[in-house]
């Protein structure tokens, strides 16, 4: 059973009907016998912007990775577009329309910016040039420096390359692991605006964020993950005002 949820698990399951992405009661981990996820539920309806917040080590990154075939799911089910994608290989998921930006090591350092984006369009090399122009509109800084090696970029610039790379295949769902990590406050705002803009174009976004308060402001819905279970779920606004969530995960000072 999933942990306490605001709506209760049954309500949650009902709301998950027909969702584009569904994770049902997933147990997953890295080392044999050690589960990091202990029965997680999550769904995202088409076009939604879903946030995942929670303390360090809660398993947020692991949840995204198990959805994307990079961590082995031991039991439970992952569904995308009504197809069972549990433990499917990441490159197959890319061709189905899922994009992923990992938290760390999210660029190919010895490749140029342009080559990084080419790798994003690996499965559709013909579409590269038109996609590159579209993505360059979103990240004008990248187009000017296309021949620069990604290994020499700053953390924020790498984030941009990584997100642009994931967008090259026009995914239906974009999985973002901490898109604002390591960014200055001004750039953090910019990153959130960009995520919102990508979501507005119809891309479903599932986003893990450390910056919980800002995340809840822009999300349609969010999950609070704790010790491998989703402890709370609800609309961004409801969670931001829920006294328990505020006390445990947002800090008491933060009553807005």
């Amino acid at each position: 059973m999933a942990g306490t949820t605001i709506e209760g698990r049954d309500d949650h399951l009902r709301a998950a009907e027909g969702a584009l992405v569904r994770i049902d009661d997933v147990i997953a981990g890295y080392f044999p016998g050690v589960n990091i996820l202990n029965g997680c539920d999550l769904y995202a309806q088409s076009g939604e912007l879903v946030g995942i917040i929670g303390p360090n080590g809660a398993g947020k990154s692991t949840l995204l990775k198990s959805l994307f075939g990079l961590v082995k799911v031991r039991s439970g089910k992952v569904t995308f577009d009504d197809k069972n994608i549990t433990n499917k290989r990441a490159d197959k998921l890319v061709s189905m329309g899922i994009g992923f930006v990992p938290q760390n090591n999210n660029v190919f350092p010895s490749l140029t910016i342009e080559e990084n984006l080419q790798m994003g369009a690996f499965q559709e090399p013909k579409a590269f040039h038109s996609r590159f122009d579209e993505v360059a509109d979103l990240f004008p800084a990248l187009a000017q420096r296309r021949k620069q090696r990604a290994g020499s970029l700053s953390g924020g610039e790498r984030q941009m390359v990584a997100m642009a790379r994931a967008l090259m295949m026009e995914p239906k769902v974009l999985l973002l692991d901490e898109p604002s990590a390591g960014l200055s406050p001004a750039l953090t705002d910019e990153a959130f605006v960009r995520v919102k803009a990508i979501n507005k174009t119809g891309v479903t976004v599932i986003m893990v964020e450390q910056n919980a308060r800002r995340c809840l402001q822009i999300c349609d819905r969010a999950y609070v993950l704790d010790q491998g279970r989703n402890a709370y779920t609800g609309t961004g606004k409801a969670l931001a005002n829920d006294p328990k969530v505020v006390e445990l995960y947002l800090g008491t000072l933060a009553k807005a």
């Binding site: 994307f68 990079l70 290989r89 990441a90 490159d91 890319v94 061709s95 992923f100 990992p102 090591n105 999210n106 660029v107 190919f108 350092p109 010895s110 490749l111 080559e115 080419q118 790798m119 994003g120 690996f122 499965q123 090399p125 290994g151 020499s152 790379r165 295949m169």
Partner: protein, 419 residues
């Protein structure tokens, strides 16, 4: 990670260098032997005398192939003397004073002793011409090493495997070329192409049914390194079992006269081999740099999980890399054996130099492996100006150590931005 692997390969190389000194003792007999030749022609009927301090004396007479052989009672030091008055008219020792040689032979070993005949090229050429000749020889040799080194480096880069059985892929190429030409009777050029293709197929199958399986099980890199040493030994003795311990020449192009280009003499086959090597090396570099698959393999070398997350079928690219790397190694084997003969152990003998080339150039970069190998090859040949040629591989190792002390990341390796 890189540093760790560098350390491991250094230690493993050192162990290997120790091991290779005591080459496998297959024959139970302890023997001393050699071949007497003059201008590539065998010289029969020459008497060679082997003796030691305990009173053991035995004579041998060279046969129609110029070969002579003496079985000695035990390991020890022997004096080998050539009876110069049995040399046919017109044939004389290159160094008339060197009629006897002291050799030490180990239990079960075969020690070969050569008595070079004819005019010494050394005496007629200046040091400068000699250095020029050695540079050219070394450069050509380096190109051969580079063919093998590129494959080693690509496989290391994409899978992390330090493959100590890479030398056996080189040997495989020469054995296949011998099989297709001498046994199937195909013209050498066709046999060579078939051998390279067979080598690629061998690499592909090795990865598909062996290495991929180990990777999937999450086998640690050090364990895989040890496995590769075992696989190398297995293949080596399998080759010995099938092919025997002799070094054999191809029927075609065997005793080719050298082309004289100014002060330099090069055999046409060495020249053609070098040109083929350059073409294949250039094609490999261009492939890595400009093609989609080449870029994907560099992406995998950077970060396999991210490559997979970008939509790259990582295992498929690794299969291609294995096939290409093994094919290039086979080509190296064919070119090497064209001048040095086909033997079960030739690839193993080159392994140290291949590793030296890869490490010198900077682990995991293809151009680095090529540049490193050419430096190693040239250094080895040039070092014979100063040190006895028996020690030339040691000279290469010394160069490797010195360069790595100055540039730990290799000549072309880049130190990554940290943080």
């Amino acid at each position: 990670m890189r540093r760790l692997l560098l350390g491991i390969s250094a230690v493993a190389l050192a162990l290997w260098a120790l091991l290779v000194g005591g080459a496998p003792a297959m024959a139970a007999d302890t023997t001393i032997g050699g071949v007497i030749k003059s201008d590539q022609e065998a010289v029969p009927g020459v008497t060679v005398n082997v003796s030691d301090e305990t009173g053991f004396v035995e004579n041998a007479i060279s046969d129609e192939k110029g070969r002579w052989r003496v079985v000695v009672p035990q390991a020890g030091t022997y004096t080998v003397l050539i009876e110069t008055d049995t040399l046919p008219p017109g044939v004389s020792l290159r160094d008339p004073d060197r009629t006897s040689v002291e050799v030490t032979v180990g239990e079960g070993q075969t020690k070969s002793v050569l008595f070079p005949t004819g005019d010494a090229p050394v005496s007629s050429t200046s040091k400068l011409d000699q250095a020029l000749q050695l540079t050219v020889d070394g450069f050509i040799f380096g190109l051969t090493i580079a063919l093998a080194a590129v494959g080693l480096s690509l496989i290391f880069g994409t899978t992390g495997l330090t493959n100590f059985s890479h030398g056996e892929l080189v040997t495989f190429g020469s054995l296949m070329a011998y099989f297709f030409s001498a046994i199937m009777g195909l013209p050498f050029i066709v046999a060579a192409a078939a051998a390279v293709f067979a080598g690629g197929l061998f690499g592909f199958l090795q990865d598909r049914f062996f290495w991929r399986w180990l990777r999937k099980r999450g086998t640690a890199l050090i364990a895989m390194l040890v496995v590769s040493i075992g696989l190398g030994i297995f293949l080596r003795y399998f080759y010995l079992f099938i092919f025997g311990g002799n070094t054999r020449q191809y029927a075609e192009y065997s005793g080719q006269a050298g082309l004289v280009l100014g002060p330099i003499v090069v055999t046409p086959k060495a020249l053609v081999g070098a040109i083929v090597a350059v073409v294949f090396l250039a094609a490999t570099v261009a492939w890595l740099r400009f093609t989609r698959m080449g870029k994907a393999s560099r992406a995998i070398a950077d970060n396999p999980a991210l490559a997979s997350a970008s939509g790259i079928d990582v295992n498929r690219v690794i299969s291609i890399i294995w096939a290409a790397g093994a094919g290039l190694a086979a080509l190296a084997g064919v070119i090497y054996s064209l001048s040095n003969g086909v033997s079960w152990i030739s690839g193993f003998g080159l392994l140290l130099l291949i590793f030296a080339g890869v490490t010198l150039g900077g682990l995991g970069t293809a151009i680095g492996a090529i540049v490193g190998s050419i430096i190693v090859g040239t250094m080895i040949q040039l070092s014979t100006l100063l040190i006895p040629s028996e020690l030339k591989n040691v000279g290469a190792l010394a160069v490797l150590i010195i360069i790595l002390m100055i540039r730990p990341q290799g000549i072309l390796g880049r130190s990554e931005r940290v943080g």
